[in-house]
Symmetry: C2
Subunit: 340 residues, 2 copies
């Protein structure tokens, strides 16, 4: 490697921040910087031999300003768009492009794709999963700048970001108790995944704090689909001592709970209040009445992952962080006080 | 430009197809080719100076083997994943990577992103929209290899691919008539877009062919949402001379039609058959009973666009094509013969 002028050298010489240089030299963002400053920065960059052609400069300074995002199953996941958009917006704001590849669930293909991204000289990789899970990161990423998105690992060298599942469960409990409910059930996902454990633990803790116990016969687990939610709700809502409110693992299970209520001639929310998690707008907005639900922060997680990756690229010694992002309540019309 | 060895030269010298060379030299796909053939191709490529490092070879032969995909709103569109996956699978099978950028609906940002992709030396661009529409392509793409995905333009120099909206409407008519329905209504999208015109024209033509006229009072247009479909269906299904079957512009409107039927104490499909378009699995699988619907071919369109782009990159004089891809029926349980 001969000279290795990087963006930090330009920023230092020009007396401005790295972000300002990045914007000034990016066709996509130069309008964000004062025109005279752009000229000054371009002159300094020219003097130092920092080239605007990213491909050429990538070979020289070893930064291509391309980030890779490796995900598992974007086809089947309605959340993929928001995660990718959040990552891309953050990348674009900092003069980087995002290259997205998907592996389905094929581990060997995934390793091949990571090597292909590395051949394209990506600066770092966001390793994304389409739901919160613990992963073993492929060996190809070992020692390379990597951030986990909607995933965690046991490797303390990797920063990661996931939703705050526990807090989502707590918020659901708070919402239903505040509306006056005391006889409350939960329809959980039967899968052994962090979201199922975290939401249940938070929900239970939120109820406990209000002196309410989640009775064993008011906790049913099923397949995390509309059919799974429907079946669980038909079971919970049958009989005389039915709960007045249901917290559902996700919006799809909540859609099934609406179907069960309709089948039993119960009205939402007058006869039964229902809360979901996800804020899948197709469902939460589409249901009648609209579903109150905790929004999974996919856009925000995508942004966080890119910003943290850029931070670790600029500062390889930066502290690793295991971040949890809040799931805000989106109130629609599926919660009301219990009758009587 | 000194020598300009490209993949076709390697294929010719090695006596194999371009695809085989692409696979053999791609870390991601060399396993698809016989190991001895891979060795032979690598030797030929080495002799000719065709390098495996894509970034370096991109500078030499002016092919980076990166394709760009520019879309409008992947965040808000559940179809985005399938379109991107189709494009990416086709790119990957041919040794290319796909770089995805999204502009929201900001025209200026879109132009800046296209220039950024061009700075990264992408070989060509897929210009995608998230629903079938006519577009004016930004000047930055003029004269550059470009394929329109889920969009058309008046420029005969641009190949494009969209769903066959007319045939989707015809298939819906065929399905309902074959089940025995004669009193049939359509809930259309009120927007002035190709999908609304095409599906209606095809539906009308399909009924006409069976000697059935779509009466004016059996055609209602509304907002293409669950609420829009519900409102239209409440109108159509009220009264005694109600239709026995509804063709809905999309699955969301069909979900609204189910809600209207439930509200009116009508059962799907015993009292009213319902057909949608999209095959949005969250909805079509989630509804109870499952929704029979025409699948929009997003995955296939994404594939087609990449394959056509690669064809035009290899053969700049290749014929331009305005392709329409069929929307296959996905049968679930929402269509039955009419009562009586």
């Amino acid at each position: 490697m001969a000279t290795k002028v990087n963006i930090r050298d330009v920023a230092k010489a020009a007396g401005v921040s790295v972000t300002t240089v990045s914007h000034a030299l990016s066709e996509a963002h130069s309008s964000r910087v004062n025109a005279r400053t752009v000229e000054h920065i371009k002159a300094v960059a020219g003097d130092l031999g920092y080239a605007p052609n990213r491909m050429a400069s990538g070979l020289r300074n070893q930064r291509s300003q391309i980030l890779g995002l490796v995900s598992d199953e974007i086809t089947t996941t309605p959340f993929a768009g928001a995660m990718i958009q959040g990552a891309q917006d953050a990348a674009s704001e900092h003069g980087h492009l995002l290259m997205v590849v998907n592996s389905g669930l094929d581990n060997e293909l995934e390793r091949q794709e990571i090597r292909a991204l590395q051949q394209h000289q990506v600066d770092g990789i966001i390793y994304a999963r389409m739901f919160n899970q613990q992963v073993s990161v492929p060996g190809e990423l070992s020692g390379r700048p990597t951030i986990l998105l909607d995933a965690t690992s046991e490797d303390p060298a990797l920063s990661s970001v996931v939703p705050d599942e526990f807090a989502a469960g707590e918020s659901a409990a708070d919402l239903l108790v505040a509306a006056g409910h005391r006889t409350i059930a939960m329809i959980n996902n039967e899968d052994d995944i962090p979201a199922a454990h975290g939401r249940l633990a938070g929900f239970r803790a939120g109820l406990d704090r209000q002196g309410i116990t989640l009775a064993a016969d008011r906790l049913v687990a099923g397949h995390p689909s509309t059919a799974g939610g429907r079946e669980a709700a038909l079971h919970l809502l049958a009989g005389d001592s039915r709960p007045t409110a249901l917290f559902c693992f996700n919006d799809q299970m909540a859609m099934g709970a609406y179907q069960a209520a309709g089948h039993l001639r119960l009205t939402v929310p007058a006869d039964v209040s229902i809360v979901g998690v996800d804020n899948l707008e197709l469902i939460a907005d589409g249901l009648w009445p609209g579903l109150s639900t905790m929004a999974l922060p996919h856009y925000e997680m995508g942004r966080w992952a890119v910003l943290k990756l850029l931070d670790e690229l600029d500062n390889p010694g930066a502290q690793r962080v295991q971040e949890k992002i809040a799931c805000p309540l989106v109130e629609r019309s599926s919660v009301a006080p219990p009758k009587g």
